[in-house]
Symmetry: C2
Subunit: 285 residues, 2 copies
Amino acid sequence: MKINNKLTIGIDLGGTKMSAVLFDGEKVLDENLLATPKNNLENIIIMMAVLIEPLIKRAAEFKRNIKGVGIGAAGVMDIERKKILNSPNLKILNNVKLAEKLEEKIKLKTKLENDAKCFIMAECKLGAGKKYKNIYGLTIGTGIGGGWFINNEIYKGSHGGAGEVGHMIMDSKDLNDLEDLFHNIMKRDPIKIAQRAYSLDRSALRIYEEFSKILGLALANIANIIDPEVFIIGGGVINSADLFLPRAEEIMKKNIQSSEISKKIKILKSKLDKNAGAIGAAMIV
Amino acid sequence: MKINNKLTIGIDLGGTKMSAVLFDGEKVLDENLLATPKNNLENIIIMMAVLIEPLIKRAAEFKRNIKGVGIGAAGVMDIERKKILNSPNLKILNNVKLAEKLEEKIKLKTKLENDAKCFIMAECKLGAGKKYKNIYGLTIGTGIGGGWFINNEIYKGSHGGAGEVGHMIMDSKDLNDLEDLFHNIMKRDPIKIAQRAYSLDRSALRIYEEFSKILGLALANIANIIDPEVFIIGGGVINSADLFLPRAEEIMKKNIQSSEISKKIKILKSKLDKNAGAIGAAMIV
């Protein structure tokens, strides 16, 4: 995407808040943030329209047109039918044609994509991945999302179901997937555990050791299937990357099938700020 | 690959025997089979030359040129440097530039590819996958190999390491990968266990139930990452597919993140005969 006369708007629709950016293909010209109304579909649509209203006005001030709007939301997307098949944070959006509904409301072309994939798209094009062409991205926050950037776009799969790496079963006995194991280890409180680990609390350090192992194995599994140039890791946990990333990298390298290839695959930290998800959504338009 | 004046030769280099075909892009014109000399690199090269000699003569009888030779062998390949990085069946081939060595000997352009990928390529282009464009193939025999057919070719990854699906860790506690679990369950004797299972031996049926579970979960993991149109399963076990494939499909579908997508992904059995690997090798030239 190059700078051109037309701007795009990206919305990052989260479970508790929604943010939006006005984007020129390279930088954010304006932004906005609102709380997400949780239990009423009509309200979500209205509030998304309210969220982007000042951005539309701002574009008019710049005398530039808006090409369209991108929405990034959690869940598996049916890209063609503009529908969320499986919305974990906002159950009310299950099987809703969200892009179509917003499009009717705001009269601007609207597209829909998984939020982790938006984040990864932004990181790949403008952040840590700028120099690379075959990148696997993971976001580790409330859940674990994934996306594979190749041929200058995010690979979607035959039915829009690719990148659901959080659901990779890694404990076949008890049917736990990567996300289950992450939650079991972190008790849904990685930030608190990180604080304790930085104070050298032994049990907290052990928790991060366990998390490093699981993450390293998951990365090796992806490497053995997809063999990317680099991984990019983002999401809430990345602020305490020194607690787990070096060890995860070690474990990944040990478990990649070819030792020669394992030397070549790097892990990078995400670089963009809190707007990355919305920027990525603006990029899909 | 279309029928053209030039023929190709494909070699399937196995741990105990090596086979070769003379191929016109659509059908096998001639074939040959020899035992693999195991412990001497020079002998392997000589015997490969002996193996294809009658095929070269046959091409001359047809007054048609040979475009080149493809070799399919077990292991991770460094495609660009024509080298086997990791040869599990013939340790003597580790880090050997096999294609280069044969090329010197026979004075025909020679390429190298993983044997499972050759098999899958043939199945995708001429066998069970003919109608599809995004196919994930697995061969389950002595080991478990994989390959992903997309954009009309086998995806290689950034360093030639893609498709090592047998090494996907599925028991993160004890670090067992799919292949380990397969061997633990089958005790390296799936044919004998299949015979017992067909006689309704309960413990043998339980073994196949366990295998179905592991395979179904592995397929779901791949589906959640890559989202192919179909899977193709081949290799030795496919002759007793009715003992495990219906149940594996059930388990796969249960573990694909979107239930709507899980309805769409099919599992097919391989269709080609024993020459599939050599045909695939002839296709990579």
